[in-house]
């Protein structure tokens, strides 16, 4: 039996080598660099935990995490809530009264932004919201600097991300609803339950696994968000839309603070790993 399984190890070797070179070693190098002062050239100088103590006192760092929370709301919480209502409405209302084709055509339209590279979505909205020639201001006859006003920029980015993300939960939830036994709904209908009661007491509990998956994957995506910030605002104006991933990029490639950038990236990695494990734990306990 041992000999039988031993042979299978051979199939893992290419990947293990690749992973060592591309993920394990670079990650350890990154953690190592976070204990140094290093500009990217020359020899890194060991400074222990200095980068981390500096991080804890850095207002920009804390603000960047606050913005991350806003983006979790925009990319995970709001799309999940709207997506639940939309999926249920499409599945058991539109689908039944206007036909499955209508429902799937609407679903495809909600999903369309999801097929874009997120950077291209940023280009589209950067154009739509341009302060001097953008379509949005012209349509509504406004003169608002959506992405250039420090009080508005984060809210604007959040709105764009809701638009971008919405289709994902709709599609996942509609797929999940197909698993649900229709007799639940029939029984509820005989009892004269309203649409909202059925939504609350049947739909949501039945597709709980999908809700978990969507919340987890979207939360991680929100913590990692980089492309839209790079394209739309570069973290600005001032610091108004700074997020950890862009903050570390800035330190790596523009300020030559590689040690400090590595500390930010390490903290972000730890947070994401902890969030993932928490989600998986809760999910395990639920089921």
């Amino acid at each position: 039996m041992r000999a039988r399984t031993r042979g299978y190890w051979l199939y893992l070797i290419p990947s293990l080598l690749l992973f060592l070179a591309v993920i394990v070693v670079p990650f350890l190098m990154n953690v190592g660099a976070s204990f140094t002062r290093w500009s990217g050239v020359g020899t890194p100088r060991w400074i222990g935990l200095d980068n981390y103590t500096r991080l804890l006192a850095d207002v920009r760092f804390w603000e960047s995490f606050q913005h991350n929370v806003g983006l979790i709301v925009a990319m995970a919480v709001v799309p999940t809530m709207i997506g639940l209502v939309l999926a249920a409405a499409l599945f058991d209302y539109i689908g039944k009264r206007f036909g499955a084709r209508t429902a799937s055509a609407l679903r495809a339209m909600y999903y369309l932004p999801q097929v874009l590279p997120v950077a291209v979505a940023g280009v589209v909205w950067g154009w739509m919201l341009h302060p001097s020639y953008g379509a949005v201001n012209q349509i509504f006859g406004l003169d608002v600097n959506w992405l250039g006003d420090p009080d508005l920029a984060l809210a604007t980015v959040m709105a764009i991300m809701v638009w971008f993300q919405l289709g994902y939960p709709v599609v996942i939830f509609m797929a999940g609803l197909q698993r649900v036994d229709p007799s639940y709904y029939e029984a509820a209908e005989i009892d004269g339950a309203s649409w909202w009661r059925k939504f609350w007491h049947i739909t949501i509990p039945q597709i709980r696994p999908e809700i978990f998956v969507v919340l987890l994957t979207c939360t991680i995506a929100a913590l990692k968000v980089f492309g839209p910030i790079f394209v739309l605002t570069r973290g600005g104006p001032g610091n108004a839309t700074m997020v950890p991933s862009y903050f570390s990029y800035l330190n790596f490639f523009q300020k030559s603070n590689v040690g400090y950038g590595s500390a930010i990236a390490t903290v972000l990695a730890l947070i994401i790993i902890v969030v993932t494990f928490l989600f998986l734990r809760v999910q395990e306990r639920e089921s």
């Binding site: 399984t5 299978y8 199939y11 893992l12 290419p14 990947s15 690749l18 070179a21 591309v22 993920i23 070693v25 670079p26 990650f27 190098m29 990154n30 409405a89 499409l90 209302y93 009264r97 206007f98 209508t102 609407l106 339209m109 909600y110 369309l112 932004p113 097929v115 874009l116 590279p117 950077a119 291209v120 940023g122 280009v123 589209v124 909205w125 950067g126 154009w127 739509m128 341009h130 020639y133 379509a135 012209q138 349509i139 996942i172 797929a175 994957t217 913590l223 492309g227 790079f230 991933s245 570390s248 990029y249 790596f252 950038g261 590595s262 990236a265 972000l268 990695a269 994401i272 790993i273």
Partner: protein, 273 residues
């Protein structure tokens, strides 16, 4: 709800759908207007005719053909290589059930969830050291590892359910392990493998952060990187900007239409990511 009520629900959902696709429509409409027409008519009017000069100028200025080819080369290579590695890994983990497979799977899962920022600078440094900086090959190697991490996780679960009797029968007939993999496991798992190929292709096409870091010259950049970097440049007036947005949108929609059937079946698979 009967009578007007049900139409109200449909109306609300249709309005939302129009809002969702509105940016696509307005980008398309304005990409084919001349700057003068945009100046006088604004963004909402329908174009007088097809003015393609803006798109052509932008295409030539950024060598868009090269960008498309780079994106295609990188995405296709990553899709194939990552699927091959995922299949090999999943064969060992899902069917071979090698010792410590749970920990290996956790390692792959963590590798997939790690933010790329935590790998970026060392990768950039190493790529320079081995002379791969600013080459498509560097992006292919790194993205293959990241995608294969997800593919391994997914395929191992699928192959864990693989009917053992078929493999035992093949072994009795004298088929070796590699032969069983190639002749039996791969053909039977074809639907899942196809979904993975498409996902890897599109995810790699859409990738922004790592290509941005590795690819700095005109000859190596991908579509999202080129468009993302140019955004906000001085010469990007209203119609040029919408031309650039349109050129980024069209390939994405083309893939969506080409792969739609496999994708709508597969998004539930991708839900694990």
């Amino acid at each position: 709800m009967r009578g007007p009520g049900r139409w109200a629900v449909l109306f609300a959902l249709v309005v939302l759908a129009v809002v969702m696709i509105f940016p696509f429509l307005i980008v398309a409409v304005n990409a084919v207007k001349s700057p003068a027409e945009y100046g006088s008519q604004g963004p909402l009017s329908l174009p007088d005719g097809l003015y393609l000069q803006g798109i052509i100028d932008f295409w030539n200025r950024v060598q868009f053909g090269t960008k498309l080819w780079n994106s295609f080369l990188i995405s296709a290579s990553v899709a194939v290589l990552a699927v091959v590695l995922s299949v090999l890994n999943a064969y060992a983990l899902g069917i071979g059930r090698v010792k410590g497979r749970l920990w290996i799977l956790v390692l792959f899962l963590v590798a997939n969830t790690l933010p790329q920022e935590a790998l970026a600078y060392p990768l950039y440094y190493l790529a320079k050291a081995v002379d791969l900086y600013d080459t498509q090959l560097a992006v292919i190697i790194v993205m293959t590892a990241i995608q294969a991490a997800f593919g391994t996780y997914l395929l191992s679960a699928v192959l864990g359910q693989f009917p053992k009797e078929i493999l035992e029968a093949a072994a009795i007939d004298g088929a070796g392990r590699l032969r069983s993999l190639w002749r039996i496991v791969v053909p039977i798992s074809r639907p899942t493998i196809n979904v993975l190929l498409i996902f890897f292709f599109i995810w790699t096409w859409n990738e922004f952060f790592l290509p941005l870091i590795f690819l700095i010259s005109n000859d190596t950049q991908t579509v999202p990187v080129a468009l993302g970097v140019l955004q906000g440049e001085k010469y990007m007036d209203a119609t040029t900007s919408s031309a650039s947005a349109l050129l980024g949108v069209v390939p994405a929609i083309a893939f969506f239409l080409i792969f739609q059937r496999t994708l709508t079946r597969g998004v539930t698979v991708g839900a694990i990511k």
